[in-house]
Structure formats: structure tokens, C-alpha cells
Symmetry: D2
Subunit: 400 residues, 4 copies
Amino acid sequence: MIKLCILGGGFIGRFYAESLIGRRGKDEVKVIYARREDTAVRFAKDYNVPHYFTDMEAAIAHPETEMVIIALPNYVHEEAVHLCVKHKKAVLCTKPLGRTAAEALRMTQACEEAGIFAGYLEDLCYTPKFSKSLASVKAGAIGRVLWAKSRETHPGPHSDWFWDMEKAGGGAIVDMGCHCIEISRNFIGKDILPVEVMCWADTQVKPIDAEDHAIGLVKYENGAIGQFEVSWTFRGGMDLRDEVMGTEGTIWVNSWLRTGFEMFTSGNTDGYLVEKAESSSGWQFPVGDEAHELGYTSMFIDMYEAYEKGTQPQETFYDGYVVNAIIDAAYKSAKSKLWEPVQLTEWRGQVGVKKPSVFTEYDADHWLIKEEILPNGDKKVILKKKITGEILELETWKKV
Amino acid sequence: MIKLCILGGGFIGRFYAESLIGRRGKDEVKVIYARREDTAVRFAKDYNVPHYFTDMEAAIAHPETEMVIIALPNYVHEEAVHLCVKHKKAVLCTKPLGRTAAEALRMTQACEEAGIFAGYLEDLCYTPKFSKSLASVKAGAIGRVLWAKSRETHPGPHSDWFWDMEKAGGGAIVDMGCHCIEISRNFIGKDILPVEVMCWADTQVKPIDAEDHAIGLVKYENGAIGQFEVSWTFRGGMDLRDEVMGTEGTIWVNSWLRTGFEMFTSGNTDGYLVEKAESSSGWQFPVGDEAHELGYTSMFIDMYEAYEKGTQPQETFYDGYVVNAIIDAAYKSAKSKLWEPVQLTEWRGQVGVKKPSVFTEYDADHWLIKEEILPNGDKKVILKKKITGEILELETWKKV
Amino acid sequence: MIKLCILGGGFIGRFYAESLIGRRGKDEVKVIYARREDTAVRFAKDYNVPHYFTDMEAAIAHPETEMVIIALPNYVHEEAVHLCVKHKKAVLCTKPLGRTAAEALRMTQACEEAGIFAGYLEDLCYTPKFSKSLASVKAGAIGRVLWAKSRETHPGPHSDWFWDMEKAGGGAIVDMGCHCIEISRNFIGKDILPVEVMCWADTQVKPIDAEDHAIGLVKYENGAIGQFEVSWTFRGGMDLRDEVMGTEGTIWVNSWLRTGFEMFTSGNTDGYLVEKAESSSGWQFPVGDEAHELGYTSMFIDMYEAYEKGTQPQETFYDGYVVNAIIDAAYKSAKSKLWEPVQLTEWRGQVGVKKPSVFTEYDADHWLIKEEILPNGDKKVILKKKITGEILELETWKKV
Amino acid sequence: MIKLCILGGGFIGRFYAESLIGRRGKDEVKVIYARREDTAVRFAKDYNVPHYFTDMEAAIAHPETEMVIIALPNYVHEEAVHLCVKHKKAVLCTKPLGRTAAEALRMTQACEEAGIFAGYLEDLCYTPKFSKSLASVKAGAIGRVLWAKSRETHPGPHSDWFWDMEKAGGGAIVDMGCHCIEISRNFIGKDILPVEVMCWADTQVKPIDAEDHAIGLVKYENGAIGQFEVSWTFRGGMDLRDEVMGTEGTIWVNSWLRTGFEMFTSGNTDGYLVEKAESSSGWQFPVGDEAHELGYTSMFIDMYEAYEKGTQPQETFYDGYVVNAIIDAAYKSAKSKLWEPVQLTEWRGQVGVKKPSVFTEYDADHWLIKEEILPNGDKKVILKKKITGEILELETWKKV
């Protein structure tokens, strides 16, 4: 059993609590910290937490605090981590790890030097669908990964600080791009070096300084390409989709808006309220167990198991640092309009990984480009001469 | 923390264990019973269970057994329940409760007389999608339920005794119809009396005596209709779908074959094995966390919480009895080719529930049948005169 | 080029015209008949038809009428056909052919005796998806058909006479069941004898005498089963789905509500009107070319080609008669609560077709029931002893 | 009736013929030209064409040729157009119009100067789904378009010249990007100036010089962004999807791989062949009427109607030129790694279109950023002070 202290009583803190409560888990939230007392009191009451504080350090230092879960706005992550280091408490930090790679690296190094357990709460790398698809990729089901795209769009976040560029560290990219980047990295391989980033970002709709819509491409050393699509301007709910192309297959994951659960309601009935949907009548697409589908339950299981066994969790602070470095490059690129290098002062993966040749030999003199059966039944083979590079096609008339 | 004894080390026993293990739960399997020693030993090793037995009563009577989970073939359920009663152990029984309503009623009454906790392990009434859709129905999202269909088809079960009519108590109806019937009952209302059943059943493909395909209709006292479609002849995987029509809406749930997770694999890669699919290449439709999506985790949480609080679980032995009574009527109907009454010697719900009138008044003299906008923009109102019953339409030319 | 006369200027007559107009076809509507003069005038203007009449016989007899398309209420079909016979004009009749099998048989025989071309306008047996799936079934893609279900439900038809039991000949069964029955017949084989019908029907919601919801099962001589689900109480649009199970495969067709075209609209924009949807905001599921997707264009092409070549179209009056005979049995069954025989005074297909055995031999002594790989990697084979009928399983431990 | 001459007897020429034949159209193919005599003879026989040639100019000049349809490899388009100009024949040209904008502009100007009818055969801007979604966008259903993405990926084209960079003018971008670019242009507005392009392109798998995978972003003057994703490395069939985000809504179109038609086949039946799929067993996703779903029939109807009425078709040579100019910029960008300007020597649309402000006023002092109901029922309003830019949130506790 692990005794937990949650820092932050807002949306994400409550979601973390929901994923622990009522599931017959052996781990318990013992301490809650919130900036405002009414928030802390309410949280303590709602989730049956014995101790509440409005002083962050007091919460961390409390003897019932064995592990700290940081569920605070981005601009307070580093301070919270340093307090955990000071008090030698294991620490889990919500996404993004930092507002910048510099912040993230300091947090990573501080924990490593102090020898405390640190986990990066990247929930979307723990959803049941993601876990199974990653296992399939690792088992070779789709061959070598060529492209890994992740998309997260919705009509915008739920707290004021997200919309404040200074406090959040940016807009939709830092808020949601962090998920998408880490999803792509997992599919392509965490030990493959991200080389450079091209990013388009704009403020298309909202009255804010940060971007509300962005699209980015991340080149990896082995020739694979990562792509993220993020927006706070999407209409119709929350769109969470991943797509992966490999030399031998394809993966499509829809985590939220189309999951095999559809409901039509005329809106003529009293008292029925559809939560978090853009309309309260018409076709709705609910999600069964939201906390589980978003990966929260599996994420905490991995964290607690790793902590108890003394191993690394799947998502570490170092991973959070790499993500931040890619985000930094994305913001630079959005301004410079150039492909910007990913600056990693510390790289723990492979280097010098080349794009492998996957040419298929047709015979001693030719590479095979393609074989196809045409609608009228004809069969064609398209070849390339190895020496001259000339392209030619052979036909086998099937119909006479 | 509850100390558990699982009876049965086969497919379903292992699935139950999977849904408890590795999820940081506080409840523990302490005892395993299997008929064959090698099965018991393997189970104990795989799931770290301290005590194993090949003598069922010894397992139940063991001091570390606080609650018994029956994961045995249908023909042993009653015997196992009576042993739990004898030793005053709380008991959970897999579906179907009995092979017949008579068996189920004896099991229900024995537990109630002994005052032991008894829960009916109807997992498909605990899936995240089902739970949320049932909550929506209860909140009035789709108005009054008119029709509730549930379908479960796949290429057939995994153990010999399922295919033996005597041991199983029947074929696809008793194996899978029990799920479908209880799903419909939940949507229509568990306190609404099931009145009569019409069922078609046939052995279309398999070399067995029992039915491998069946379709049934269940009439409820309030005019709602339940429908089940079950088959062991389906090709393409496992098809688990529910559809509900209400006066104000519709629900469609696809629990297995189309859940927003799609994968194509060329089959050219070595070493990759697709489990439980009919082909190892081409488009695949995996399910993320199978145990969770099938309702196992939520089901056990409900059972354990109810046991500790001293309340009834959502699915009780009495529910299992009602399901068996409907199945009995279905088998009778399949033979007699008649609508057969559901024989419930004990009914604990409402009686005399009439189909409510839901006519909409257009004006003092007319009922509204329908209002429609035609493709060319015309609008029509179709009415019925209250007194004469005459039907007429009024048009409003929108285009001139 | 064929010169056409359309009888009926309402919803269906206009839909037929839409599927001919603006597609660069060589066939032309020359004559329109409608009961009310304003309807006829409007139709003639909208579709550029040179001649209009409010006298049906005058329209049919007109020298510019080469072929008559009956788009009239059910109770006028027979009269219209007899007038075509009298004037020796080729005739196409909308669905259902008659209100009863007796009507349909008289119409069929009258045309055959007169030697005039007669086609049954069963559009849903001509949709692009249906045509391709039927071709796949005939090519053996799913083996022997075991079950063919077709479902059509929506919130009710658009004209007064549909709701009048006398004029329509019934309710949802005769209106939409006719489609479903003929779809199933095509999949199972038009030459396979439909033997008996069980039908549940009820008036659940609407203030009418006819049924607004019905479910029926149709047994065929070869052991296959047809199923229809029809309703005028469905909420959420129009649900048109077919499902077919065969010994070697499965077909699922969704023709209307989920076809890969999805739109969300906030409803905040002025002047935008969603036609034929139940709500004007939220998620919408439009259909591209409605007339084509409903089979109208392909249906008329088949009819005109057959007429010019002097062959039979795919759907004949005789097919319409068989459908009516099945509907008659369905209505009888809904009242008698018995399986009612399909009474065909004239049967032109095969007789004495038995259900073939499809047992798979495992070895000389055993039938194979099933082979399965379990989640833990074990493989099982379930067998039946040919002589004793005993069922047993063989296991191959994959994991040690 | 229009008399047609098709240039090219290969895959696309045959597809064009299929979309005209057997649909009772009044237009007729009178002349076929192919480079190889056997191809010409076979085409003439298959589609009942009276005249065939292996001399292109002779085919164009033939008195039965009223309109020419160019279905030739990219490198012959310009030559063919100039011959049509010389002989004053109306001309339709397949996509892409040219290999470069320079070619396309010469073709456009030559036809305009000669006063001959010229249509650009951009079929994917004529699919039933596209047409209806474009109409919805124009009617305001999704507000102002912010982003329009189009994706076309499959395992590679069917003729040798596609794979030859010189003959094709490039790889996947020029082959398929032309579709995607014109789809986005239509959604965003054809009169909105495309300003600059960023493109990533690589040869990831195939043994060719041209790119087999590319992703591009196109900035439009009004702030909208177009995106194309093209690949010849996709596994699993052909993926044709469009996604549009607007200020008031969303459109998702799947034109090929998921259209509501699904089939499973075990592969155990003899003689059944699945055309154009990557595997002949397992789950298949066929398309009903391929020519219609790909827009061919609607495209030719528009072309012929426009020709007869003397108006412009929806897709003109000028549109083809704009597309080529965007492709040119894409290729430059893929090399330079910079955003490259779209160079249009002639622009016929609007200039100086600014991104409109769509801020929503909350009260005199505040802009509204967002309103949200949280999972626990709380409601929040997030605002921005107009003067200071400060962001704040107001809460209404719903639960006490």
C-alpha cells in the first residue's frame, strides 16, 4: 500500500482521484493540497482524504505522504518537484513535465541526483488501446514504422491558467502536443533520436496570445516521421485519434469520439443532462469508463508497481524532458518558419541509426516495385532495372 | 480485503483471476480448486495462490476461504452452491446460474434461507458501456423503452462440456442467451414481468445435439419486447452488440468487433501471433483491456462492495433464476413452436403494468401522427380525427 | 429511348423522377398523372413533362406512353395494372406489389397472360452495396447462407394513406417488411421455398390501428432463416441495415445512417437547414447521392435494359407475389401467435431442398467441433466420437 | 448527345469508359486512341467503339470526334491539348493537368485563346459525399473553414510511367496531392489566394527516385490552412479521407475503406477472388458502385452539361493550373526545407482577404474564452479582460 499526497484540487487532481477511488485499490490518498481552502476542503470531503493543506510544503513534508502526485498548473511543476527532492518523497508529475526543456531537465536531474523515484504521468501512453497497439508494433505486426500521427483536438481547456501563455508555457502545443509527441515516440522507438521539427501554429479563433491550432512534423534519425495535430478550436466533442503506418501494416485508434457506443436522444425528456457534449440532444457518443479509457488506472498501476519493485516506470521524467525539447523546437519553428533542430543536451538512446533499405528483389537484374490485379482481371508487375534504373511493366493478360 | 476461493481452473476461472491480478487490488485469491491436479497446480503457480485442492469441499471449507467464486461447468453449479451453504461461505456464481429455473430457484432459496451473501456473475451487465447506457436510460435519455435487443455470436465455446447438452443444459441459448436476456431485462426494467417467449432454434452447422443458432422474442407486461440473437456459427470473431429503441431515443453498443481500434497486418512478419482472431493477417479489430471491457473488473468491485456493506449486488441469484425461467420458456417454445409463458413461481417485481398511451394531441379534435419536411421543402402534418379515426394530411407549400 | 408515363405525383413519384432527371439519360418522362390537378401541374413543371392528366386511364392510353411507372398508394396498384394490361403498355410497379398475395397474383397473371413487360420496383435490391454483396454471396465468399436479416426503421411514412390500414393493406410490415423479405430471399436464394413465418407485431406508439413495430422470422426449406425488423417508432433518422451469416463468412451493410460521412454543426449559423434529420444541430450523418444509394438509378437501368432486350428484370411481379405471400403469413402469425405456412398457389423454384451436412472430419473416428488458441497460448481441439456421440477435448500445452 | 474520343486505353481510360457505359446515357464514345494497337483493339471491342487509332492526331481530327477526353500519362497532356486546339475540339484532361505550373498555364491559355471548351477531370471533387459536404459548407453549416485536410494513400499506382519521375513530373505528390489540394481549395474557397507551402517528402520504401510519402501544409490568405497527406507505402487498401474544421462545425468523409459495407470471408471457398484488396480472406471493405463513389459519373455529367450550355464546368483548366502551382511550391519546399511562396502569374480570385475576428463578447469589459460544465456538475466561465488582457475564471458551484 502506498500513501499518496495529491497537489492540486482542480480538474486533473479530481480525475486522478476518481481513477483511484471505488476500484478496491490498496493505495490511498492521505493528503491533499490546494491553493484555496474551499477547494481543499471539498476535495477532502469528496474523496475521504484525512489531511488537507493550503501550504504545499507542509503537504509534501507530512509523515503520511509517501509519494507525491503533482496535479498543478505547468508553472508550478518545477517548484513542487524541488520540494519533493528536499523532503525525499517519491514524485509523479502530470504532463507536460516542464514549460521548457530547461525546466524539465533540471527536474529530471534533481530527482536523479537525489535518488528519488520519479514518474511522468503521460496517461495517453497507458490507454488500453495504446498499450495493445504498442505491443503489436513491438511484436512486428506492422513491420518498420514509417509514420506515426497523433491528434488531440477539442473546444479548449477548463481552467484560466491554460489560456495564459506565461503560466502554461504556450498554448495547444504544450497542452496537448506533449501527448501526441510521446505517443509517436513510443511507436517509432524511444531510443530513436528526434532530429528536427517543422511546425505551423496560429491563433485562429480564441481571444488569446497563444496558439489555438498547430500542426507539426518531427523527423527521426531512422527516417520515420512523427506528426502532431492539436487544436482548441475543434467542434463536436474531443477528438483523440492515432494513426500509424508501417512497412507491413497500419494501426488506427479512435480513443474517444467513435468507440462503438452511440446514443440518440430527442431532448424531449426532462432532467437528462449530457455531460461534456456540445449539444444535449441528437446523436451522442459517450465513453464507458472515462478514467480507464484515458489510461489513468493503468498509468498509476505501472507507477506504483515500479516504485515498489524499484524499477523505472514506462514514462520517466527523462521522457518528459525529450518531449519538452521537441516542443521547444516546435515553438521555434512556428516563429522562424524553419525546420528547427531538437536540442538534447543529454541523449540516452541510439545514435547513427540509418534508414534501412527494404527493396524487394524480383530477379537478379530487377527490383520489384509493385504487383497488381486490375479491375478487368489483368495482372501487372512493375519493375526497376538495378543497373540502369529504368522502370518497366510486365503484363499477363488474364482475359483473352 | 476479501479472501477468495476460486472453484475451477479453466478458461473462465483464469479470466476471473486475470481481472483481479495486477490491478493493485486489495482482495486476494487464497484457494484454488480444480478437478485435475495439473490444472490446479498450474493455476496456483500462474496466479500466486497459496492453497490448491482437487477436493471441492475441502477448498470451500478452508479457513482462508471467505468467499467462493464458482467458475465451474453448468452441471456442477448447484452442488457447489449447496456446499457453500453448508459451510456458510459467501458465494458468487458464474452464468448461467442453473441449467433450469428449478435448479436456479433451489440455489437462490438455499442461500437466502442460510443468510449467506450470493452474487450472480453476469459480467455483460457490468461493462463500462452497458453501465453508462443503463444510467442514461434510467435518466430518461431515450424515453420509455420499446425494444431491447442483445446479440452474442462467435464460432463456439472453448471446452468440451459446453457442447454436451446434458452437462451444459442446452446449447447457444443457455450459454449466451442468458447474457442477452439479462441485458434486455435491465434496459426494460427488472421489475417488469416477462410474460411469454417465442424462440426459433436450430443446429445448422455443428455436429452436436444442442442448438448452435437461436433467435428469441420475450414479451414484457408493459408492452416492451426483448430480443436475443445467439449463435456458435458466426464467422469473423465475436459479435457483441446491444440495440435499444425508446420513444425518445436509441442506443447502439458494440462491445467487441468495432470499438475504434483497427489494425492491418500483411502477415509477412515472423513471430507475430494474433490471438483469438480467425485469421492472422488482414484487418484485425483488437480490444484494449479485454477483462475490463467485458465487465469483469466492475462486476467484482460491485460484488465485494455489496458484500462488505451488507447490501445486495446489482445481479443477484434471483436475477439468475428469472433468466433461467425465460430460457426454459425459450426451449419449450423452440420445440412446441408456440409462444410459451414464462413460469415464475416467485415474482418479486410489479404486476399489472399496462402499456401507457403516448398519443400526442395536435388540437382538441386531432391526434398528431407525424410532421415531416419533404426533400423539396414542403412540410406536411399527418393527423387522426379523435372521434372518427379518419386519417388526413395538411400541407404547407413552402415553395411556390 | 423509352417514353415513360408516371402515375402519381407524390413523394415516391418525385423520387423516381429525380433518379432519371439530370443524369444525361436517354429515357424521358412524357406523361404524368396525379389525382389532384395542382400536383400534376407542379410535377410537369418541375420535371419538364409535356403532358399531364388527372384521368389515370387517359394518361396510360396516351400515345406518348410506352411504359407506365406506378407510383400510387397500395390500394390503387391493381386497378392501374389492369389498365396497363387493357392498353398493352409495359408496366413497372412500386413496392409492395399488392396489399395481399391474392391481389399480387392477379396482377402477375394478368400481365403474363397479356404478354406485357412487368417489373417490380424493389429498389433496395438494387443498391450498389446490395448488388456487390449479392455477387459476393453468389461467388461463394461466405459459403452457404445460414441467416439473412434486414432491418428498416424510421419515424414513419410521409403520406396519410400509409397510416390507413385499409388503403395500405397493413402497417410497417407491408410498407417496409416487403423490402426486408425480398433482400433476405435474394441472399438465401430466390428458388428456395419459404416455408413458414412467425411474426410479432404491435402498435406501441402511434395512434393508429395498424402495427408500428414488427419482427418476423421466415423459415426456408433448406434450413436457412430470414429475419425482418421494421418500425415506424425509431428515433434518430432512417436505419437501413442488412446482416448475413454464412458457413464461411459474414456480410454487414449499413445503407443510410453510417456510411463514412459525418458532420457536426453547432446550429449557430443562419439559414442552414438539415433535411430529413431529426435535429438541425449536433452530429449529422448525410448520404451523398440519395437516389443512387437507394438503388433507384440501377433499378431503372435494369428495367429498361430488360425491356429493350426482351428479357426478365431482376425483380419481377412474381417476386412481388412471393413477398406478399410471406407478408400474408406474417399478419396471420401476428394474430394467431403460431408459425403460419406461406401459401403459394404457384411455386416456380426448387422443391425438396434439404439442409446439407457440413460436418468436418477430424479423423476416421471423430468429427471436429472446434479448434481454439486460448489467451494463455494453449491450443485445444474439441471432438465428437462418430459412434458414441461422446464429446472430448485434446489439449496441447504451449506453455510449460 | 456528345460524340467522344478517348485518348489512352489504359487503367484510367477504361475507368472513364466504365462510368459512361451501361448507364443508359445518351453520350457515346466514337473514337479510341492508344499507343499500342492491341490495346486500342481490345478497348474498341470491350466498349463497342466504332473507330480506333494508334495515331493520336488522326483520332482527334476524326469527324466523329466532338470532344476529346485525355486519359494519357502526364508527360503527353500538353501535346494532346495543343492538338485539340489545332483541330478546335472541346477537351477534357485527366489530373494532374500538367507536370508543372508552366505546362498547365500554357495549356490553359492555349484553350482560352482558341475559344475551345476545356474541363479539368478532378473526379474527387465530384463524389456524392464531397458534393453534399461542399454544399453544406457553402450553406454555412460549419461556419468559417479553419482547416481542410485531404488524405490519399494506397500501395502505389498501376503503370510504369507513374514511377518514372521525368514522365510523371514527380511521385506521390503530383499523382495524388493534386486531388487533395483541390479538395482543400474547394472547402476553403477557390477565390482565396494560396500563399505559401511547407512540404516534407521522402522515399521511404520503394526503389525509386521520386517521393513515395509526403505531407504538406498550404497557407491561404484568409488564415485557413490546407493539408495533404499522400503515400504509396500505405498497407491495407486505399485510404481516401477528408476532414474539415470550421468555427461552427466539423466534416469527416471516408470515401473508400469504411463506408458501411463490411465482409468477412474465411478464404475456404474455391473460386472467389477479392479484387484490389491486399488479402483474399479475413475482413474486407468493398465499395458498391466504384465509378460513382469516385465521382466519375457526376464529373462527366457536369462537363457535358456545361459544354452544351456554353458555361464553365466546376473544375476548369485554370483550377488545374492553380493546383500545379501549389505542387511546384511543394516540391521546392521539400528540397529547400523552407515555406515556399505559391507563384501564380495570373490570379483570378480575391486579394487582400484578412482573417476575420470572431471574438465573442461576454460583457462590455470581457471577451468570452470558454464556458464548460465539469464532470462533477460545476460550471465555469473563462474570460479575458479586453483592456489588460488578463485571463480569469468565474465559477458557479452547482453542487453544494
